[in-house]
Symmetry: C2
Subunit: 343 residues, 2 copies
DNA sequence: TGCGCAGATGATAGCGCTCCCACCTGCCGG
DNA sequence: CCGGCAGGTGGGAGCGCTATCATCTGCGCA
């Protein structure tokens, strides 16, 4: 550090430097750059010229320290590469960028309360103005409660216990679309391989599936559960393939669906001839693996944008009432589903 | 803001508060928390107790402003969900976290110089101590040169023009493993669907493939090019499938490989009976799609760790000489490759 | 016995910005 | 004609922390 206040070589220009060059005060520079209304056009122009000339860039740390506002939001995600979370994160990033916000990501290796807590704390330390939780909040600790109280937080998994705002794809609808599609093809009933129960996404799908079957007076088969990985789909497929009257399966994610299909294949049951399979997500490979997968496409980009929009509103007015928002998924029919064969 | 220096309700506790409770000076608190050696164990304990009692959390903005060090590194990635980049990012995140660094991600929608420039500037504004570029630097602008001069930067794509340090998977080896595997199965020669030329990953694979063929005196078929997407693999597959003497194809990514396989399938050429296909990456689905894919696994986690380790060393001593580092991929043989049929 | 040095602690001065308030123009109405 | 009021501007005072230097202890050694 240096005693002299005069400009130094090797130090980036500060607001004072801009002020000097523009012939105004540092204060005016601040206002001009912040888009404050009470600044003459002429003055603003002078400031901008000086900024250009010096190659001035704002010092974010100073701004945050002084104002408490960071223009940054945080996203908590699970440290894995499931397609859905990746796609969602991208949607959020793009939307945040457009809103002039930076995104700070904190990943957690597990869904433990303490792990999520620590991810949220890391974000809080970075003075984020809001958070988006892309993981299910299984248990809301005192610490988390305090954080969500202090920092506007929304969750895109819609944890049922939380005190946070919720944005979500209508997963129940996704499940209903899939299940009804299979019934429409003439199948007696539809089996289901669900995601982990901790995820609301997973349990909403399960509920939607069950609702359709019950509404139609069909037998509701026991539900199987995976962990989103292809491998868990495979394990469940090995079970399903051994049950003779299984002819239609709704799987809670595309990656698991391919695992299921592989297992069925190995057991000699053909898809879609013997068994129809529907997934969820519409990953890039869904169309190109064999057989191409009938699935329910999720509008992840839209979803990210909606989450950010919601959060912005929440940040602007923390007291405003907000009802949960949701976007609609859509069915994409491909080759993994076929009409039930006459018995 | 407030005139009084005494504690206020509703304001989080600061270092001065901790100092008061612990009965030491703010300075000592700073040193104790920074792990400075010249602090008595007893004093440190008192400080930690006070921290605990007050629920004190450091103010990062203030630390950055004052010290210039942010304990944050930045990562520039492309705004897509290709498996490789996602996996790599996770490797980086984990390693950085272990090193006590936060990760700030900046995504860019395109590979334009200006887009990458702006992503790097955004990171610079956040006072990152170092950057990892996970995108190819096609053209190094004056601005970028200035940035890489000011902030330690390494690239994991190994752009040939850049003035940055390089960490990479040995892609040439990956290609040689794949190509040799196919030749060993008795195929006359091997065709290649490459990634975009702008990516060094892609061109290294192409070179490795070519080197093996030339070394063995085989015919080097013309090279096809995709954009990493399954769809581009499909397009190229539609071409390859129409060429009668194609019996083995090395594809630069798993996602493209499945696209190729699908196209071949549609043209009535069986994999692996008629044509063997090898991919690169070993994505989670490689084992579960049909046929399961022979591929070259990339050690992304290791790679991320290596990149971070390199960057840490670079940050610690920007002048230290560092040779490019690389990690080794490994071949995973599955069902998409088979011995060439006797002609 | 005393000097000096090293280890432990404290005091002070910023880091670059934004807030609050005072100021200074010019113009309106009384 | 002058007080007042509004829009524009400038002047300080911090924001919470760390760097630098000063200070203060205790101890070894001559």
């Amino acid at each position: 550090m240096d005693k002299h206040t005069t400009r130094e070589a090797g130090r980036p220009p500060g607001m004072t430097d801009v002020a000097r060059v523009a012939g105004v005060s540092a204060q005016t520079v601040s206002r001009a750059l912040a888009g404050h209304p009470n600044v003459q056009e002429k003055t603003r122009a002078k400031v901008l010229a000086a900024v250009e000339q010096l190659g001035y860039r704002k010092n974010n740390a100073a701004r945050v320290l002084s104002s408490g506002r960071s223009r940054t939001i945080g996203v908590v995600t699970l440290q894995t590469s499931f397609y859905s979370r990746t796609a969602l994160t991208h949607g959020i990033e793009r939307a945040a960028q457009e809103a002039g916000y930076a995104v700070s990501a904190a990943t957690t290796a597990s869904l433990d309360t303490s792990a999520i807590e620590s991810a949220m704390l890391r974000l809080a330390d970075q003075h984020v103005e809001g958070m988006i939780l892309a993981v299910p909040l299984i248990h809301v600790s005192r610490q988390i409660e305090q954080l969500t109280g202090a920092v506007p937080t929304i969750t895109v998994d819609g944890s049922r216990t939380s005190a946070t705002e919720v944005v979500a794809v209508d997963q129940s609808l996704a499940a209903r679309l899939a299940t009804r599609h299979l019934l429409d093809l003439g199948h007696e009933t539809v089996w289901h391989v669900a995601g982990p129960r901790a995820w609301l996404d997973a349990s909403s799908r399960s509920q939607g599936w069950r609702a359709v079957l019950e509404g139609e007076g069909r037998v509701v088969p026991p539900e199987l559960e995976g962990d989103w990985s292809p491998e868990s789909g495979y394990r469940n497929g090995l079970i399903l393939g051994r049950i003779p009257d299984v002819t239609a399966v709704f799987v809670a994610s595309d990656e698991m669906a391919f695992g299921v299909i592989r297992a069925l294949h190995e057991l000699g049951r053909r898809v879609p001839d013997d068994i129809s399979v529907v997934g969820v997500d519409d990953i890039a490979l869904a169309e190109y693996c064999s057989p191409s997968l009938t699935t329910v496409a999720q509008p992840f980009a839209e979803m990210g944008a909606l989450a950010v929009a919601h959060l912005m509103r929440y940040i602007a007015d923390p007291d405003a009432a907000m009802e949960p928002a949701s976007v609609e998924p859509s069915l994409v029919v491909r080759a993994s589903t076929a009409p039930a064969r006459r018995v």
